[in-house]
């Protein structure tokens, strides 16, 4: 995950608290999405950025997981096609593991 973005997420967590703030991911692939979810939950596993060794405890969801929480027409227009392109189940399965 981009180092600048790690810093931004850290600042936002300080500002809003981990109960109110959630992270929504748009990753193309399971491993990278999982890595981002892990980074904001328990810290940067690659020890590259400001979240190295910082456990924010944030919950991250991939956009695919929030299908039923948003307007159906908007979802279809914005995301619908990507359900045919990306591996939805694999991505969701991976991202979920970091919320346990």
């Amino acid at each position: 995950m981009d180092l600048e973005n790690q810093a931004r997420i850290k600042d936002l967590t300080d500002k809003y608290g981990k109960e109110d703030l959630i992270v929504v991911l748009g990753g193309a692939e399971a491993e990278a999405s999982g890595l981002a979810a892990e980074t904001v939950a328990t810290g940067d596993p690659t020890f590259a950025g400001p979240l190295s060794g910082v456990s924010l405890g944030l919950k991250a969801y991939h956009m695919f997981e929030l299908k039923n929480d948003v307007d159906a027409d908007i979802y279809e227009a914005q995301i619908g096609m990507m359900e045919m392109v990306l591996n939805v189940e694999e991505i969701i399965e991976e991202v979920k593991t970091y919320r346990k």
Binding site: M1, D2, N5, R8, I9, L12, Y16, D20, L21, I22, V23, V24, L25, G26, G27, A28, E29, A32, S33, A36, M63, L66, D69, V70, D71, I74, Y75, A77, Q78, I79, M82, L86
Partner: protein, 41 residues
């Protein structure tokens, strides 16, 4: 689930870009506090 939540968006240029996620989560009642799109290529 999104109602009243603050949301930070990490979009992916080759997956779902930030602005597309933004449109969606706003419709679910979330307050977008940060939105970005990453690029690996």
């Amino acid at each position: 689930m999104l109602k009243g939540k603050k949301v930070a968006i990490l979009g992916d240029r080759d997956g779902i870009p930030g602005p597309a996620i933004e449109e969606c989560v706003k419709s679910g009642g979330a307050d977008v506090v940060f939105s970005t799109t990453e690029c690996f290529v």
